[in-house]
Assembly symmetry: C2
Homo-oligomer: 623 residues x 2
Amino acid sequence: MHIRLTSGKILDRMKDENLLQAFKRQGVYLVASCGGKGICGKCRIRIFRGEYHTASQGKLHAHDIESGVVLACQTFPESDISVDIPKESQLVLGDVLEISRTKDLLETFRSSGKTLSPLVKWVSLEVTPPTIDDNISDLERLKKSLEAICLKDMSFSHGFLSTMATELREARWKVHLGYIDGTEAVFLAPSASKDTYGLAVDIGTTTVVVYLVNLKDGSLVDVGSTYNSQIRYGDDVITRIMYATEAGGLKELQDTVVTDMNNLLMPMIERHAIAKKDIESVVISGNTTMTHLFWGLNPGFIREEPYTPTLNFFPVWKADSVGLKIGKQVPVYTVPCVASYVGGDIVAGVLASNMHKQSGITLFMDIGTNGEIVIGNNEWLVTAACSAGPCFEGSGIRHGMRATEGAVESITINPQTFTPSLSVIGNSTPIGICGSGMIDAITEMFLTGVIDQKGKFIRGLTTKRIRDGFEGPEFLVSSNEGKDIVLTEVDIENILRAKAAMYAGVSLLVKKVGLTLNDIEQIFIAGGFGNYLNIEKAIIIGMLPDVPREKFRFLGNTAIAGAYFCLLSEKMREEAEEVAGKMTNVELSVSRRFMDEYMSALFLPHTDIGQFPTVKKLLRNKD
Amino acid sequence: MHIRLTSGKILDRMKDENLLQAFKRQGVYLVASCGGKGICGKCRIRIFRGEYHTASQGKLHAHDIESGVVLACQTFPESDISVDIPKESQLVLGDVLEISRTKDLLETFRSSGKTLSPLVKWVSLEVTPPTIDDNISDLERLKKSLEAICLKDMSFSHGFLSTMATELREARWKVHLGYIDGTEAVFLAPSASKDTYGLAVDIGTTTVVVYLVNLKDGSLVDVGSTYNSQIRYGDDVITRIMYATEAGGLKELQDTVVTDMNNLLMPMIERHAIAKKDIESVVISGNTTMTHLFWGLNPGFIREEPYTPTLNFFPVWKADSVGLKIGKQVPVYTVPCVASYVGGDIVAGVLASNMHKQSGITLFMDIGTNGEIVIGNNEWLVTAACSAGPCFEGSGIRHGMRATEGAVESITINPQTFTPSLSVIGNSTPIGICGSGMIDAITEMFLTGVIDQKGKFIRGLTTKRIRDGFEGPEFLVSSNEGKDIVLTEVDIENILRAKAAMYAGVSLLVKKVGLTLNDIEQIFIAGGFGNYLNIEKAIIIGMLPDVPREKFRFLGNTAIAGAYFCLLSEKMREEAEEVAGKMTNVELSVSRRFMDEYMSALFLPHTDIGQFPTVKKLLRNKD
C-alpha cells in the first residue's frame, strides 16, 4: 500500500499504522501538538485519491471533510492514496539548506579563533561524604568543595537544591557540577556526558527555527523549522500585541510558541537518540515583541507611543519558567534587544555579519516579517525598523510559503508566450512560492509587460495565464495535478508595500546619518530567502538600492546564525551585549518623511527613476 | 432555627445557608480545602440531634453516615440541630491565648531597642517617563532612578518584570519599590500602603500556627492554628519522610501543608478586610523535615544515617514556588536549621528565649512532637534531639487535642472518690485533653494510686472510673452529653515514653557538656501547652529534672515567637543565622547511653529515685 505525496515522494505504510505514524517513520514530520491524539487538529492533510477510513474527524468543518481533509493521526488508508500536506501542517526537519550553510558558520567561528565556551561551565568535584561525626548539610559540604577550587559565593536555586541530595549520592559524592556566569549552580551529574547539546532558536514572527547543536564540537546535529503558530492570532507583531493585551491572550501566545519549539525539538532528539538531560543550554533570538511574548512579558507598550519595551537586556532565566520540555534548570540566554522594533534578531544579525568589526561602512538589511536596517561600522551603529510585512516569508500571499522543499525560488517568464520557467527547492513539484520567487515573479511580470508600474495587471494580453480569480485578477504561475499556483493582484500589492517600506527605510536612514548610498562599502541582505536571492531583480523592483552589484552579499537567516554563535561562545555573547548597547535606534514610523519616501517607493521601481540609473537604462533599452 | 455546638455555643442559620456558611458567618471556621464544593471531604461534622438534608455525601463511609457524620458544606438543617465538630475539622482562628501572649512578645521586642525592619524595604522613586526621543526600555529607566539613590546592581526576577510595565504606568512613573537584601526588587506599588502585613508561620509536625502581623507597628492582627494535615500520612517526621520518599509523596506532602497555611490565611484576611497585595513577607520556622517538605526538598537523607539534611541555611525564595496564595513575589524567609533533627523551630526558640545573650547557662527544652534540648549561653550552644513523639500535642492519644478552646488543661483527682476536677480552656464543655492536662492526669493518677510506677492501672480500686475499653483499661476523665473523655493505658504508655525521652536527653546532654544539673541557672520550657504547665507535676512524673522550681520558666510556643521576631527585624534574622551557625549538634539516637537513660526514665518518676529528691520525699510522706 503506497502513499503518494504531492511533492513526488512515495511512502509505504505498515499494518495498523495511522498516517501520522507512517509519515514520521519515513521522515515526513507533521505538526501534532497533542502527540497524535486527535485533539489539536494540526496534522490536517488532504487525501485526493484512494480509499481510507478515519477513527475521528476531530473538529474539522463539514466543507473540509467533503474536500478530503482528514487528521493524519486518525486516518487509515485502505488502498494506495495520494496526499497533499498543506504547509501549515508541515514540520520541516533537517533542512538541507540550513545544514550546509551552518558548516560555513562553524568554519567562520573556528577561523575567528574564539574558543568553544557555551553558557554552562563544568567542574569536577570530590565532595567529602558525611559521617555521623561530620553530618553538616549537603549544601555546606558542596560549598566546601567549591571553595577549595576557588569558586566562592555561588548561588543555588530552588530547582537545583530539590534534586541535589539524590544526585550527590547517586554519584557517590564525585560529581560534575555545571554552573553559569560563575555564580549560579545549575546541574549536577555523576559523570561528564560524552556529548552535550544546545539549542539555538530563531523566534521569527512568521517562522520558528531550531538548531540542535553539539556543544562539544560546535557542529549542527539537526535543524527544524515551522510556522510560528501564533500566526493564528495575527500575521504581524501588532495584531499579536493586541491579542496579548486587549484579549488577555499573553499566556496563550507564550504557550503557542513554546509548543512550536517543543514540537520541533522532540522529533529531533528522538531521531538522534539524544537524552533530554544532555541538552544543557538554549539561546533565543527574536524581535522585541517575540522575545517579550516568549518570556510572557506584557508587550503592550511596545505598540503605544513612545514605544518602550519592558527590557532589552534579559537575565539568564530557566527553561521551566516558560515550559520548554527540557531540564527544568536549563539556562536560556536571550540575545539582547535594542528598542521596541529592533530586537535580538537584528543584534544576532549584526553579530553574524561581523559588520561591527569593520572600519568600512556596511548597510545591513533584514527582510523578514518586519524589515529592519542597520548602518554603521566598528565605531557606530544606527538602526531603524520599517515594518515590511510578512509576505517574503510566505504569509499573506495566497500561495506564499517559506523557502523549503517545494518552494518556487526563481522564475523567468517568456516574454512572447508568458510561460514561466520555474526553479523549485529540492527539484520537486512546486507547492508554493517563497520570497525570492516572488521578487523574481514581480520583476519578470514587470519586464514582460504583464503588470504596470503600479503592479496592476495589464488587460488584453493574449494569454490565459492572466485570469479572474475569486480575489480579482491573478497570474497562473504553475498548474500541477489539478493544483494551481497563482500570484494575485492583492499578492502583488502586498509585495510592493513590503519592498517600498524597505527601500524608504534605507533611503531615509542613509540621509539621517548624513551619508549617501555611495559612502556604503557593502550591503548585507538577511532574511528567510533560502539560498537564493536575485539581487539584480530585487533592484529592478526597487527593493534594493541601485548600486554596484559587487557590494551586495546575501547572508541568509542571520538571526539563527547569531543565536548559534552565542550558543557556542561567551565572547560572542559579550559582543552581542556590546552591539545592543551601542546601537542607536531611529524611530522612522513617527517621521513624516518616511511616509513620503514610502509613497514614492510604491512604484516599480520608484517614482523617482533617477535613483535607479541602471533600471532606467534597462527599461529604455527594452522599449 | 438554631445550631447548638458541643462547646456550648449556639449559632443561628440564615435561609439557604449550608452549615459551613452559617458557621463561617458566626466565626466558627472549619477546614475546607476545596472552598465548600463537597470535594475535599474535610468539613466533616456529626449531627446528633435534629432534622437535616444533604446535597451530597461526598466520599463518606456508610458507617460514618449512619452515625450522623455529614459534610458541613453539603448540609442544610430542617430543625434545631446539635452538632459535634471533631478537632480535625476545626480551624482555630483568633486564639485568645496566643494574642495575649503576643502582646508581651511585642513589648519584649520593643524593649530590646531593635528597630522594626521587615524583609522588604521600600523606596520612593520618580522614574523619568519615556518620550519618543528617549525611549530606552522601562527597566533601564528604573535602574537609572535606583542608581540616583545609590541602589546599584539590583536584580530583577522574571516575576517582577512580568508586571513592571503596567505597574510603572499605572503609578504614572512615581512608584514605591520594595526590595530585599539590598539586591533584589520584588514589588512595585503606586503608593505606599497604609498598612502592610506579614505572616509568621510555625510549621509543626502536628500543628500549624499562622500569625498575621501588621508590619507598620509590629502588632498581631490575628492568629490561626490547625492540625498539620500531613498527619494523615503519619504522626511523626519518620513516617512522613517514608511517605515522601518511598511512596513518592513529596509533592503531596508539600501541597498538604501549604493548603493548611492557605486555609488559615484566607479567612483571616477576609475578616480583617486585608488586601492580598498588602501581605509583603513571610517567615517560616519548622523542624528540618517540615522545612524540607514545605520547600519540596527530598527529606530522605534526614532519616538515613549519618542524617544529613540537604541544606540548613535557606535562600529567601518566593511564595509562588510553593503555591502560597499571596502575591507571587512575596519573599519567604526560612529560620535556619542546625541538623537533621534540630531545626528552625529550635533556632527560633533560642532566639525567643534570649538565652544566646546571657552569660549564665540555660537549659532550653522544646516539648513538641519531637523533643529538642539546647544547653548553653552567650558563648556556646549545644543541642540534641530526643524524639519524644506527638502526644503532648494531642496526637496519638485517644482524646488528646491541642491547647485550644475545650481542652482540659489541668486536673486534680480526689484521692478518696477518684473524681477529677477539671479546668478547661475557655471555660467551656471539655472536648479533649491537651498536653498539660495529660501531665496533670498522670501525676494525679500516680499520687492517688490509680496507676503504678510503670503507668499500669491498679486493679481492684472501688471506682467505676477505671473500666475496660476496647483498647484495654481506661480512666474516665469526664462524661458530658453522652461523650466520654478517657485516658487509656495505651495513652499513658505513650506519655511515659515521651517524658522518658525528654528526661534522658537532658540527662545525657548535661553530662556530655561536662556539667551537672546544679550548674544550670535557668530552665526554659517551650511547647504547645497553652498558657499553663504545672512544673511541679512535670517533675513528679519525671519529665523535668528535680531542681529548684524558681529556675523554671514556661515560654509557650517559642517556634512561632522566634518566627515573629524574625518577621519584624533584620537584626533578629541575623541573630538567627548566628545562632544556627554556632550550635553544635550531638546525635543522641546513635548513643547506647541514651538507650540506657531512656529505659531508666520510663518509670514514674525514674528508676533512680535519687535523681528526684523532692519527689522521693513527697512519696515517703504520702505513704
